[in-house]
């Protein structure tokens, strides 16, 4: 804990995550579905990558593979970071724990001391604008509130996972989908702040092109059936106008990809 912040040791690969020729099929025989086929994707340490794609194209599957929750059917996945922190598409809160205890859970698993844990939890609750509802159970929360608790938990996991050290990874699956515009704005800002402060790499799935461009340094578009990387855009440090042009461009391409799929 008292270790000084070290710069990430440059590896031979110099990538936080590298997927090479990854294929993933579900099921056997005739019922088999190939969700992903030939995914190549590299995320540099500290990079913020946004994944876009049609509903059902395989974005969640990519995150699961990176998090080692599933095994690829073919291809390889290399991770040089610490255990990634994941925010699932569903809130997936432990129904027997209060909101605060849910957030505390990763800290507890990481062996953080009680007092520190509680302080951190309170801080995170405030961050997701849920101060005061820490003692509520998941079933007493609204959908958006649950999503924010899940976000806080993922952030707690990200903090505890790297013990304050660099070269960590945060995987987020549509983290703001159930939030109103204002709360979303605030949380996007908070996320960027955390990202900048910790230098963690982020893979961020969203359906909102505007959000992707605003947050990400790079936007990756997946096709569907099977999922493949179709195109990538560098969206870092764009001016206001360039940003809105890029949004239109991506939107157009997205429409093209999705319609072609619908036609197929």
């Amino acid at each position: 804990m008292t270790a000084t912040l070290e710069a990430p040791v440059p590896t031979a690969i110099d990538a936080a995550v590298r997927l090479t020729g990854v294929r993933k099929s579900f099921g056997h025989g005739t019922r088999a579905v190939t969700a992903l086929d030939g995914i190549d994707l590299t995320v540099a340490p500290g990079e913020f990558v946004c994944l876009l794609g049609a509903s059902g194209c395989g974005k969640t599957t990519v995150l699961n593979l990176i998090a080692k929750l599933d095994k690829p059917s073919a291809g390889s996945i290399e991770l040089t970071t610490t255990r990634p922190a994941v925010m699932f598409q569903e809130a997936a809160l432990m129904p027997w724990l209060t909101a605060a205890r849910n957030i505390e859970l990763p800290l507890r698993l990481a062996g953080v001391k009680r007092a520190e844990r509680q302080a951190k939890t309170l801080e995170l609750l405030e961050l997701v604008r849920l101060g005061g509802v820490g003692d509520k159970r998941p079933h007493e929360l609204s959908g958006g509130m649950r999503q924010r608790v899940a976000l806080a938990r993922a952030l707690a996991s990200a903090i505890s996972g790297n013990g304050g050290k660099a070269s960590s990874l945060l995987l987020m699956d549509e983290p703001f989908s159930a939030l109103d515009a204002i709360t979303r704005d605030v949380l996007q800002g908070e996320l960027l702040r955390v990202w900048k402060a910790t230098g963690t790499a982020v893979v961020f799935v969203t359906h909102d092109v505007r959000e992707a461009v605003r947050l990400g340094q790079r936007v990756v578009l997946l096709s569907s059936k099977p999922g493949r990387v179709v195109q990538e855009w560098d969206v870092d440090g764009l001016s206001q106008t360039a940003e809105s042009a890029r949004i239109d461009e991506i939107n157009a391409r997205l429409r093209e990809v999705i319609s072609s799929h619908a036609a197929a």
Binding site: A67, L69, R83, P84, A85, V86, F88, E90, A92, M94, P95, W96, L97, L105, P106, R108, L109, A110, R137, P138, H139, E140, R153, S157, S160, G161
Partner: protein
């Protein structure tokens, strides 16, 4: 037609509302809570009184001779005698403390066993069926073997109790774990829980409702096995419990004594349910929003 349909629907609604009203008396929060408690206590008593009333009625019609259906009062007299002589406390103490100890040991054995069964596929394939087979062996079958192996000691009794309760609790835990939404252990994994932490912080709490159900069945097995063991193995070393009392009633073909024994065993079962399992179950379900108000 729509008019008619609406009418029907309204009637239905009225009926349902009536049922609901029966179910959930409305009122102030405090009043509701008190009424809830009252219902918890009163309802089983009323049901019991009704059953005894029916019994008394059947008896008074003299449809069956006294030795087939003794009078409720005769049975009560038996119990009264036991209470007056203070013996009842001895019986209850001997049996209940044994059942509780046996149950706790069973719990301690069955929990790691259940976790292994649920989570190590090979172990489950190999031992799952054997454990279920073990569960279906009647206690009476074990008693003679256990007496032969352990003599007429408490070890015999505990062996019989464990052979019934352990598989039941373990199977309950397995069923509970099988029903956990798969996302929760996945969350545990990404949050950095190892095998032990996963069991402790995710699997066991997540499986708790199913586990509790298994524990209830396990308790029933413990208690039944204990009674079977006490019925068959009798000796001063073993003390004198409810099973032995029941056995004496049977040996003497004394129906009122048999019924008194059954009543005592039954009350212990009901008591454990009301004092232990019911509140546990309620709080577990309620804290998860599963209170089942509908």
């Amino acid at each position: 037609m729509p008019q008619h349909e609406t009418k029907l629907r309204e009637d239905e609604a009225a009926v349902e509302a009536g049922l609901d009203a029966l179910d959930t008396p409305t009122g102030t929060t405090r009043g509701a809570a008190r009424r809830d408690l009252l219902r918890q206590v009163l309802a089983p008593i009323v049901a019991l009184v009704a059953i005894v009333g029916l019994w008394q009625f059947l008896w008074s019609r003299a449809i069956w001779p006294e030795f087939q259906l003794p009078a409720p009062l005769a049975v009560w007299d038996q119990i009264q005698t036991l209470i007056d002589s203070g013996q009842v406390w001895e019986f209850l103490w001997v049996s209940v403390h044994r059942a509780v100890i046996g149950f706790l040991i069973a719990l301690a054995v069955a929990t790691p066993l259940g976790l292994l069964l649920a989570k190590v596929r090979l172990f489950r394939a190999a031992f799952g069926p054997l454990i279920s087979g073990l569960q279906s062996l009647p206690s009476v079958a074990w008693v003679p073997a256990a007496v032969l192996w352990f003599g007429l000691t408490d070890a015999t009794i505990y062996a019989v109790v464990l052979l019934g309760a352990v598989p039941s609790i373990a199977n309950g835990l397995v069923a509970g774990i099988d029903q956990i939404p798969p996302i929760l252990p996945r969350v545990g994994k990404v949050l950095g829980a190892g095998r032990i932490d996963n069991a402790r912080f995710i699997l066991l709490p997540a499986a708790l409702p199913g586990y509790l159900a298994g524990m209830k069945q396990g308790w029933a097995f413990s208690w039944r096995s204990l009674m079977a063991a006490e019925l068959i193995a009798q000796s001063p070393q073993l003390g004198f419990g409810l099973g032995q009392y029941l056995h004496n009633g049977m040996s003497l073909s004394d129906m009122s004594m048999v019924m008194a024994g059954i009543a005592l065993i039954f009350f212990v079962g009901v008591g454990i349910e009301l004092l232990l399992f019911r509140p546990l179950e309620k709080s577990v379900l309620k804290s998860r929003g599963l209170a089942g108000t509908h």
